[in-house]
Symmetry: D3
């Protein structure tokens, strides 16, 4: 990283901490068409904003997932940021809970589509983690398969949660 | 439906009346990732709101199609709601007319994309209704095929309306 | 109206039917800065779209109120269109019901702000209709005054509506 | 609260915890025009969603401020939710930091307008807390007054952060 | 400007070129609540983006006016950017023409509200330029006053423009 | 074009000038479901608005690309309009520069997704122009292929611009 300015160095470190190798790949794709914008994402968004210590990375990532889900049209970015949230230790349950709450502010369609993206992210990470079991029994990794017993889950009672 | 609370029961009845089996399937998919949100759609959106007698279901569905088309980013929901509108007896002509009017408020891109969704819904319902004729002559059900004679329809005179 | 083309004549007639004198005034204000846009509203929005017989004016106005409430940022237009809806015989109850439903698609903030606009429209029309009684007893026309007995209405039971 | 159903009771308790008396007042105003919507805010938004223990109230409020700032058109609600965030112990610094980050996702205009709302909230709470000093020296509570020394703050060096 | 980094210096120069003293004042107000965001506007928006020679300032400003008008909720920023466009020599006619075109993409309400903002900007600049005549005859500077002869302009024929 | 009214004739001429044969094809597809809307695009958007001489076609197209990129949800229209911009002689560099600037107003996700659309348009036009070389050496036309040497472009120094 010799020769990089401090903002870029700080930005890259923060980007890696939240998004890992996937974040670098997304920006490399962008850089083929708009190299400057890719640098601005690193130096400005991650180097100037996310790296500031005034708000924890966890809080920042929650706010970002909420904002991007609210936009409604930014599903590729929502996918990245749900992955980033999981990388920072925010749980699947917390992510679903936050996206559900977005129904109140951004409407049910935005919340439902965001939860569809979360389901894809969860399934991909599950598939990536269990390649061996998947090889033996592919159904276990599909994520979207609905076991018979769950069939009428939508119609069931509310359970115990308040 | 024993054991369900009244809101859920009322919501399911309204959901079925507008969306039929397709509505239940959409919510079952949602329920695999976010079961509570699925229940809120039934109990709140359909049980608390749509079931109220102060506005007819037809008027509610027109308003919903207008709102979801205006959002612009909620095409899967628009598809469901155009199907719901047809289920309630709103005609294809009325739906196209309403979506066209959205160009005035939400802009032409939102209106044009909404009409693309309507075209898909109309074609799918046409294909579902005529499986036999489709088997014999598949071109008749494609919906998107443009007969030679219509080729320059966009360039023709305005006709009689209005 | 001699010398006007047919679209403008048809548009003005439809505009008057929905918005009355207030509609002309809004467009005259616009015309001082952008006369062409004012003419396009008349000839295109009202002459080409609203005047088409394929959808009733009532249905068109419901769709417009839904769309403009969903936009969230177009409160002056929402005010005009709520007035237009009342002019066409859509009741206050139906308007409130429709705006309430928008919470499901556009989120609660958009719905709540739209209902604030509706409250203003209802109060203004009430004040305009009862100038004499208002002169004698100004409190009756404020619209926003909360009689003691209603004070805790937000906290009460759900009443009879489903 | 006798006679209220459990959702309403739970919602009111959560509403009071986040928004205090101001939350009840906002809903009472709404209830004069749309009493059912006011009840849905309590029973659904606060009783069904916010009261769920799967996400902390602090995290929920951060997500809500981010979402409402992203909408751009919901400044009255943003004001309520910034107050709610402060009530829950989220600091002014954290709120400004979160709103600044929204520039990345919702654009600079939305972020700048949100920070204008935050400035108003901070000034109002400051004025409310120091009524005596305000009485003696009104300039101290204006919040918008710029001391000479800060005049060129926008043009200064970046300081130490981060 | 000694001690400022190059991005800030370049940003300030570009900001002054487009927005003059008014731009600095807007950022000074922002800086009282969010000094870092104010610096980011200068160093990132104006120093990194606007200062790049790959697109002329005139083209950049047209694009910005179009974008901010499309957002719909950012009227204070629209006002600044219409002023900026005029400062760069873009004419009133071109600005009105561009905003009118936005009706096609962002809908008529966004375009009409944007034109209302343009009318205010034009009137303010007119009043600022002619303080003496204004002192003698205040009606000439109101901008919103409608001379009798223009009264029915909205209803007139289309004139000669295509 | 005999028998067409003047607005339609003027609109078709302007449409062809900006969008060529592709514009007619898009409207023919729309015309199969909503023939009137297709005619309104021609007569109103292109005949009434774009054909007006008060703003150059180049300026209009820059404004349209900015507006449609800001909407975020209108990617098919953005594709058409980027093609239209190239047809009018606006360079790839200028288009990327404009879309990059949209990050400031519409947020980074909208800008990044718009640049993805631009990359697709550039690649398609490159493939269409060089069918022979493509036949011999397919890698040259993929557009998305990243030569090894560019791999870390996102991480490099800022170079000389601006």
């Amino acid at each position: 990283m010799a020769g990089m300015d401090m903002r870029t160095r700080r930005g890259l470190a923060t980007l890696r901490q939240i998004h890992g190798r996937a974040g670098i790949e997304v920006l490399d794709t962008l850089a083929r068409t708009a190299p400057e914008l890719s640098r601005f994402v690193i130096a400005f968004a991650f180097g100037d904003i996310y790296a500031r210590p005034q708000l924890s990375l966890r809080d920042r990532q929650l706010a970002t997932v909420a904002s991007v889900a609210t936009l409604g049209h930014a599903l590729p970015q929502l996918k990245s940021h749900i992955n980033g949230a999981l990388n920072l230790g925010i749980t699947k349950t917390e992510i679903i809970e936050l996206l559900m709450q977005m129904a109140v502010y951004a409407g049910f369609p935005a919340a439902i589509n965001a939860i569809g993206v979360a389901a894809d992210v969860f399934a991909e990470r599950h598939a990536a983690k269990e390649p061996k079991r998947a090889a033996r029994s592919p159904q276990q990794t599909t994520g979207r398969r609905r076991p018979r017993a769950q069939k009428h889950s939508a119609l069931r009672g509310r359970g115990k949660s308040p």
